[in-house]
Symmetry: C2
Subunit: 359 residues, 2 copies
């Protein structure tokens, strides 16, 4: 059941191990993390489920564990400082390896902590949510949030490996599972029409969390992400297409305060907004727009933003996005299903109309 | 008067411009920083002297300035957070360039801010102290301090260029100028015996801050550092020799609280301790030890640590150093003048005796 997808980044090449029950595979963990000192970072929801198992693989060395409170509110510079203080108190050396066991918050925060501790130590991503398994654990983007914007403080720091145990998805709350599907659908929309069609045909099995369907969507998502990241690690080109729906989505998340809307929910609504803007611009035909909206709705994701964000406020929040150049908002839009473009070359009035209609 | 030393790091190759009056060279600054958005970071001691001149070079674009209080106490995660907040409030985009105008604190903090803002933007080092011109501005090490250790939170992030105006050294307080000489002498001790001999012969001209002597020590120091960094950017080997005196020195700084002893003063005493330990181990003969101690003393630097640090406390602080592996303190020692080695293979009793003797 152990599938391996490689992220081809030259000397920083690394494997993504995907399979049911991998968390219990001690030899795999010890092979991926040969260090004498290990620190496992997790949160208080994941810890009761998996911490003993994972930390137990390192009983033969020094293994420290740090359990943070759950939630996006802790993906902050303050918590980052706490992690640094913990590692220094425990006198972890530069050869220590950080194991990030949890969802996107733990992965992003843990990765950033590994990137900065003594100017950089190795880390292992062990994602336990669908979102983290199909998106955030792969590609080396690490960050914490700032009250003025999501992921604004961070680093590119690739893990030594990713271990995605599909069995962890069985216990995921429905809302979180569905939020993760937004990123899965995204790969179909931006670059993989056959996968989009597969999702249309097999969404019921996915929603029923049939193991084979889960393994397939995770593998296919990781393959897509690995290809994009290998071609454009630092996001100077194609990688930006992975942000479909994210500029709209981040604005929603910031407007609502982190944690009210889940990231995937905001991305779901954001992808619909991007698709509708693409349609307004005449880039996406009505049938394609309908298919995109229908799949996102069937997954159980929101397709419209909260009604109470004024158009001007929406635009202001979007203009804080990292992808902007020269004051003009850069957007990921669709030229067809499976065909994303990154552009600043669109009719601004169409964006205005969309935001006014949406507000 | 514009000498250029290149740091050869492949696609991240960059020039160090050295000369008297370079701060007034608008065309140079505009050529090195073609960005549409610039943020100049400096402190309240440097700002009255040079901020108007430097910021004035960018009057044709958006140029924000942030003036921090002077001092090592501000090389902290809290101040780092303030810099991030400032840049976000000003809506600086990923294409913005940060100009770090000041000494080692501004350079290290500014470099780390540039490394992390939106996962990394370009930055220009404009060092205005001797220490920063001969050491900290070159090589891409950026960091802030943690109460539990110096430079423990940071990143490797190379500048796009360094501009070292030797005229800024004329106004430097004597204590700070002398502290900078510790790093200059270091290059002689670790790898450049002819430079060490030149310093013995010309120290009076250096202490009198004769422009030709200043230009020479800065160029020679930068050449040495550039060669070491080009050979070993990430400090997996030779680069560690640049830390001669620093493991002892960091312990002194941490014990005294940042800012009581200047970094260079602590390094001066630390280099003497390393030389004495080398002599105890029989690696350095008495004449060589005497030459090392004499030059450091003539420069006006301390040659012994503060008397009130107990041996056990000294060892504890040294064991927090980033260079440690497997609990054993790695040290930079001398096998002769101009010949440093990085080793964990020394008689621990000799270190004990040194620390007891020193306390």
């Amino acid at each position: 059941m152990d599938t391996v997808v490689n992220v081809e980044l030259g000397e920083r090449r690394y494997p993504i191990h995907i399979g049911a029950g991998l968390l219990a595979d001690g030899p795999l963990f010890r092979r991926l993390v040969p260090a004498a000192q290990v620190v496992v970072l997790t949160n208080d929801v994941v810890a009761p489920l998996y911490l003993e198992t994972v930390a137990g693989h390192f009983a033969d060395r020094r293994c420290e564990t740090l359990v943070l409170p759950d939630g996006e509110a802790h993906k902050s510079l303050a918590t980052f400082g706490e992690v640094m203080g913990f590692m220094l108190e425990k006198r972890l050396e530069r050869g220590a390896v950080l194991v990030a066991l949890g969802g996107g918050v733990i992965g992003d925060l843990g990765g950033f902590a590994a990137a900065c501790y003594q100017r950089g130590i190795d880390f292992l991503q062990v994602p336990t949510t669908l979102l983290a398994q199909v998106d955030s654990s792969v590609g080396g983007k690490t960050a914490v949030n700032h009250p003025l914007g999501k992921n604004m403080i961070g680093a590119f720091h690739q893990p030594v490996a990713v271990v995605a145990d599909t069995a962890t998805l069985a216990t995921l709350p429905p809302r979180e599972f569905i939020a993760g599907l937004a990123e899965v659908i995204k790969y179909g929309l931006i670059r993989d029409l056959p996968f989009f069609a597969w999702l249309e045909a097999n969404l019921d099995q996915v929603l029923a969390r049939e193991p084979a369907a889960l393994a397939y969507i995770i593998r296919r998502s990781c393959e897509n992400k690995a290809e994009v990241v290998a071609a454009d690690e630092r996001e100077t080109g194609e990688r930006a297409t992975l942000n479909l729906g994210h500029t709209f989505g981040h604005a929603i998340e910031t407007a609502r305060g982190y944690g009210d809307w889940l990231h995937g929910e905001a991305v779901g609504a954001g992808m619909c907004m991007a698709a509708r803007l693409s349609a307004r611009l005449g880039w996406l035909d009505a049938a394609a727009l309908a298919r995109a909206e229908a799949l996102i709705a069937r997954a159980g994701l929101p397709t419209t933003p909260p009604a109470d964000i004024e158009a001007a406020r929406f635009r202001e929040l979007m203009s804080l996005d990292k992808k902007n150049v020269g004051g003009r908002i850069r957007l990921v839009l669709l030229r067809g299903l499976g065909q994303a473009v990154v552009t600043r070359d669109y009719d601004d009035a169409a964006l205005d109309a969309l935001l006014r209609g949406a507000a």
